[in-house]
């Protein structure tokens, strides 16, 4: 901090005052025992991995390199994770803001949504999504609600519908998967986002309001960026969980998915264990990448909170005044 550290240290000077400490450190024999045990166990693991024929590494890498497997990983696993998390995070923040609003109807809707989607197991939710088309045999139309009733009253015929989607086309494959996983995720993210928003000191919103910011700006510019510091770590968890939950897409059913594709190769060649290894390697790799991403996100939203001094005390004049 201060620049005037010019005081002299008398410790080195006179013999009757104790000087620098040069003591014997505490020994940790237990640590050495633990290290020895770990080294032996690690050696056994490596030996197992290299010598055990059941691993069949050639087959593992061949299976991982198949076109349908790579396609399943990119589309069914990565793409669905990304899309579902976009739906989940966006929906979750929206639900959290609704839940914290003064409007009892909005707060109630948010509560009911969270209650409903947290109650259903994802596997069953995805299965249900795949069958939802049965509710809309005439398709999903966009137009004036209750148009046939209004027409009836007016004594007219025809409809006020602009376009119609085939429900069996909507509730199928990847789309059904993303809807199901995204809505389920939104319910969990709502709680995470709510905790994040509530963690921000009330004085922050007051200071922003006193500057004349609208309530939307207060939320977007002041509260949410600070809430993110609390929201990001559990969201990283959720993303990793989502990556793994994409293997439930089979319930929809979606077959353009990593584990289904690997399994079908495994059953063709009667090799199940190497397939499990191949899937594990894929998920390990994807999770590692996500963890790196989370590190950078945490660093970004942790600005101004750490004890580190990232870019303090640069000389004045940065404003160009």
């Amino acid at each position: 901090m201060s620049t005037d550290t010019t005081e002299t240290r008398p410790a080195d000077a006179s013999p009757d005052r104790p000087g620098a400490i040069n003591a014997v450190p505490v020994r940790h024999p237990g640590r050495w025992v633990a290290i020895a045990v770990i080294v032996i166990l690690a050696g056994m693991l490596v030996h197992l991995l290299v010598t055990n024929k059941a691993f069949d590494w050639r087959f593992v890498f061949q299976a991982m390199n198949q076109q349908p497997v790579i396609h399943g990983f990119l589309k069914g696993t990565l793409l669905v994770t990304v899309l579902s998390m976009i739906v989940g995070v966006g929906g979750g923040v929206l639900l959290a803001v609704m839940r914290l609003s003064d409007n009892p109807i909005l707060a109630g809707v948010s509560w009911v949504f969270t209650w409903f989607f947290r109650s259903i197991p994802r596997y069953i939710l995805l299965f249900t999504m795949g069958t939802l088309g049965i509710l809309f045999p005439q398709g999903i139309a966009f137009g004036i609600p209750f148009d046939w009733k209004i027409m009836d009253w007016l004594g007219m015929s025809g409809d006020w519908r602009f376009f119609t989607l085939d429900a069996n086309q909507v509730f199928t494959g990847i789309v059904a998967g993303v809807i199901g996983l995204g809505l389920s995720e939104a319910a969990y993210m709502a709680e995470i986002a709510r905790a994040g928003i509530m963690s921000v000191d009330k004085g922050q919103a007051e200071a922003a309001e006193a500057l004349g910011m609208s309530s939307g700006k207060v939320m977007r510019r002041v509260v949410l960026p600070q809430a993110m510091r609390v929201i990001v770590p559990p969201t990283g968890n959720e993303t990793i969980a989502m990556l793994k939950d994409t293997s439930l897409l089979l319930a929809v059913p979606v077959i353009a998915e990593l584990f289904y594709q690997l399994q079908s190769i495994g059953s063709t060649y009667y090799k199940t264990f190497p397939i499990a290894v191949a899937a594990t390697l894929y998920y390990l790799a994807a999770t590692s990448v996500l963890m790196v991403g989370q590190y950078f996100l945490e660093r970004h939203f942790g600005r101004g909170f750490g004890t580190k001094a990232p870019r303090a005390a640069r000389p004045a004049g940065a404003g160009g005044a």
Partner: protein, 258 residues
């Protein structure tokens, strides 16, 4: 008409009447200090002026504008949040606990409202922000985050942040109460300078020397009412009311034997 004109302001929290009919006029360029024991309602009254609290009764005008309501033919209509936000733009506020945005640097804190609320260009806003930082003696700390600044420095940045909106009126809510004693002086010095430049200020404070030297009017509040108001030499120097006398002597004895 005075810049701030408050008539019969009342406010309750859960049946607890905190303000029981406050009248206060503040002329342009005046400095008014609100004194009083804790719980007397002075902070609540200050927060009512820029509508961080809504009042239950009475009226507050700032610069001839009725705060929080539109008066059409004697009937009051509550303003929309957007309109209330617009009224707040004219009023700067400094908080006891600074409330700087911790995720933004000192400079970003000051630039935020002019660019986001007034839609000023980044360049103009930054130029004025640097001038303001220079004025509060912190130009060299412009890129520091609040956590890297002392309490006194944070409060000076907070004052600069409020001034960046070029307000007509500045409200200070116990601006030095959260500070270590040796840091109080630097914040009061900035406020003193601001008063000399003619800023209209309402200050809730326990700093008697500041009130005595800087205030044009001192208002002593207790139990939700104004007990005594007048020039500092009268209210502080020669208080007429027994409650004022008791408060001041208690403050003095605490000062002598902390």
């Amino acid at each position: 008409m005075p810049l701030v004109h408050a008539v019969n302001v009342t406010k309750s929290f859960h049946h607890n009447e905190v303000l029981k009919g406050i009248d206060l006029d503040v002329d342009r360029g005046q400095v008014v200090c609100l004194l009083g024991p804790s719980g007397s309602g002075k902070t609540t009254f200050l927060r009512c002026i820029n509508q961080l609290e809504t009042i239950d009764g009475g009226r507050i005008w700032v610069d001839d504008e009725l705060m929080g309501y539109a008066d059409r033919d004697g009937k009051l209509y509550r303003l929309k949040n957007k309109e209330i936000a617009a009224q707040r733009r004219e009023i700067g506020m400094v908080f006891q606990r600074f409330n700087l945005f911790p995720h933004k640097t000192a400079l970003e804190n000051i630039v935020e409202a002019p660019t986001q609320v007034k839609r000023e260009s980044k360049k103009t806003a930054r130029e004025r922000a640097m001038k303001l930082l220079d004025r509060v003696g912190l130009a060299d700390r412009c890129n520091a985050y609040p956590a890297q600044l002392s309490g006194g420095q944070q409060q000076r940045v907070a004052i600069a942040r409020a001034l960046a909106m070029q307000p007509k009126l500045m409200l200070f809510d116990e601006p030095t109460s959260a500070l270590d004693p040796e840091l109080v002086g630097e914040v009061l010095a900035v406020m003193r300078e601001l008063a000399l430049e003619g800023m209209t200020m309402i200050v809730v404070t326990h700093e008697m020397s500041f009130a005595r030297e800087v205030a044009d009017t001192v208002v002593f509040m207790d139990g939700g009412v104004v007990v005594e108001a007048g020039p500092p030499k009268d209210v502080i120097g020669n208080p007429q009311h027994s409650r004022t006398q008791a408060f001041l002597s208690r403050l003095r004895s605490e000062h002598e034997h902390p």
